[in-house]
Structures are given as C-alpha cells and as structure tokens.
Symmetry: C2
Subunit: 192 residues, 2 copies
C-alpha cells in the first residue's frame, strides 16, 4: 500500500521534528514541508494533530513492549527469575534514556491537550502487567514490590535525562541499585 508507506514517512518525520524542536512544538506546516506536501494534505492521513501524537505513542509503546519481551525470552528464559528482573531493568533503562523525546511522549504528560487513546494506552498497560508477572516469578509479587521497582528505575532515568542527557552519570549505578533493591526485599522476606 502506497498510503501506508506515506503514513510511515510522516511519522518518521514527526519523530525527527520533535527531536529538533521539542515534543510540544510539533507543527503540521513544518511536518508537511519536510515530507514534500502542503500542510492540508496531511489530513488525508491523520484526522488531527493529536491523531499523529497518538500514532507515535502507540508505535513507541509497541516497541517498548517488544524489546522487553525479547529481553525476557533471551538466554535461558525462565531459568533464573532474578536474572530476568535484572535483564529487564537494563532494557527498560536503556529504552528510556536513549531517546528523551520518546520518553517524554510516553511517560510524561506534558503535551497540552493530548491524552493517548484507550487502544494506545492499552499497549502501555501491557508492559506493566508483564513487569508484575516477572516480579511475581521472582517472589516479588505485591504492589509494593512493583511500585518500588519501577520507582528506582524511573529515578535513575529521570535524573539521567534531566541532569546528564546523553551521559552515564546516573544509569551507571543501575546494577548497584538493583542489588540494593533485591537485598532489601530479600531481607524483608527473611525477617518474617
């Protein structure tokens, strides 16, 4: 389909423009000029600017889900659940830090007026459901385990993007943070 190809081309150009101008500064005019059309012609592919944001959101969520699942499947699969927790954390942190604009679109609600559609958001929820199952296999099956796990990862990511974008100042501590988290939860268990 020619239509689908052009659609993909528009989305690629949209990512590019957001990386240069900022997520909130996506402009249909500039976007159209980049792909060689008049701005009005974009409406043959997307019914509004927010439909473009939504398509980008869905695309990014899908890639996140796939990369996490690929990480879980690689190696011995379910052999060592703790190793799965660690491997997944690395993929998570890498995905979030390698593209700040994608992170902002997916995880921060900073675009005025944009909310992902139910269909797009459902994809994002799946990644969290996966994480919950994976932690449960490692004996960390409560909300508390999940929330603290995502919080320590989110913290490294947030600080890395805010204070040292493109660097390693915070994420280099990921393995130590995982040790800290796992030791703590392990000790809690023994304490009972």
């Amino acid at each position: 389909m020619r239509h689908e190809e052009t659609r993909q081309q528009i989305l690629r150009a949209a990512w590019e423009q957001m990386r240069v101008e900022g997520v909130a500064s996506l402009s249909l005019r500039a976007l159209a000029r980049t792909v060689g059309m008049e701005p009005q012609s974009l409406y043959s592919y997307f019914e509004s600017k927010y439909a473009i944001y939504d398509a980008l959101f869905a695309e990014a969520s899908t890639e996140f889900l796939e990369r996490l699942r690929a990480a879980a499947a690689e190696g011995d699969g379910n052999a060592d659940p703790i190793e799965g927790v660690r491997r997944r954390a690395h993929v998570w942190v890498r995905f979030c830090t390698e593209d700040p604009v994608r992170y902002q679109l997916l995880f921060q609600r900073t675009i005025p007026g944009f909310e992902p559609s139910e269909a797009s958001y459902a994809i994002a929820r799946e990644t969290l459901a996966d994480a919950r199952r994976m932690l449960a296999r490692a004996g960390l099956g409560t909300d508390r385990h999940l929330d603290m796990y995502t919080a320590v990862l989110a913290g490294l990511v947030a600080q890395q993007l805010a204070n040292d974008p493109g660097g390693r100042r915070y994420v280099r501590h990921l393995d130590e943070v995982l040790d800290m988290y796992l030791d703590h939860m392990n000790k809690q268990r023994k304490g009972r």
Copy 2:
C-alpha cells in the same frame, strides 16, 4: 512600590494559568486579560515571555531552598545527621509532588526554547550543594552517594506525578526507600 506589586500579581496569575492550561501553554494575551491589562502592557514588567518563565523559575527555586533549609534547622539541627537526611527527603518529596506544574518548570526541561538564566539556575544549584553537605555530615560524601540519593527520591516523585497525581501510591514508600538506601550504604561501609 506599586510596580513590584503588579509584578507579583502577574506572576501569581501566570502560575494559575499554567496550572489550568499546562506549563507550555502560557499565553501573554490570556495572562494580561486575567490581570486586567492589554497584552502589550505586560512588556512594562517583563521584557519577554521567557523573562516571565525565568522569574517563576527563580521564585520556585528560592522557595525550595528555603523550605529545605528550614527543615534542616528545625529540631536539634545537627544532632543526628541521619535524621537530617530523612527529614530533608520528606520536604523534598512533598515540595515536588504538591505542585506538578512547578515541578515541571523546575526539574523537567520541557518548555520549548526556555532555559533559566544563570542567576536563576545558581539558586537551584545551591539546593544540590546543600544536599551534598548534608549527606557528607552523615558519612555519605561521595558523588555516588549523592546521585543515588537524588535518584531514589526522583523516582518516587516521577512515578507519583505520572501515575497517581494527587495520590500517595508511590510516596507512601518514602520511609522504606530511605531505609533501603541507608542500610545499603551502611553495609557497603562495613564491607571494607
């Protein structure tokens, strides 16, 4: 001074507008109408829209610094450094979560084209310098200690704001996260 009063009134209205419309949607027109002026008259108080953002940034940074210092001074002061670390963490997390818009302006770089001035940013750097000194008094004086401390706090804040704004789902684990952090660092020290 009448001038200063009006200036403050404009800044108050700007916070209000950002809370309703989003940080990036601050509009000089709407702002002027709110305070009962023509949009052009704002230029008697601020030389540009970014000058308004910068004044807001400086105001918020100053309040953050003052609240952290007040927390450090209260109680016995330097009696128990670890207690200071904890108390400061609570103030930090509360400040960040009680006003998402202020958090976005201060800690996320999401407004296209806006960078705080050197003078405003210097205030923000002071808070970090304070944190470093406070950790050092508690025997946690390295960059690694500081970065992991700010990361775990930032993680709770980021998740709280993104997934449960106005709630307590993540921040309720603050004391446990602090236990986890302090235990881990303590154990590291003994290990040597």
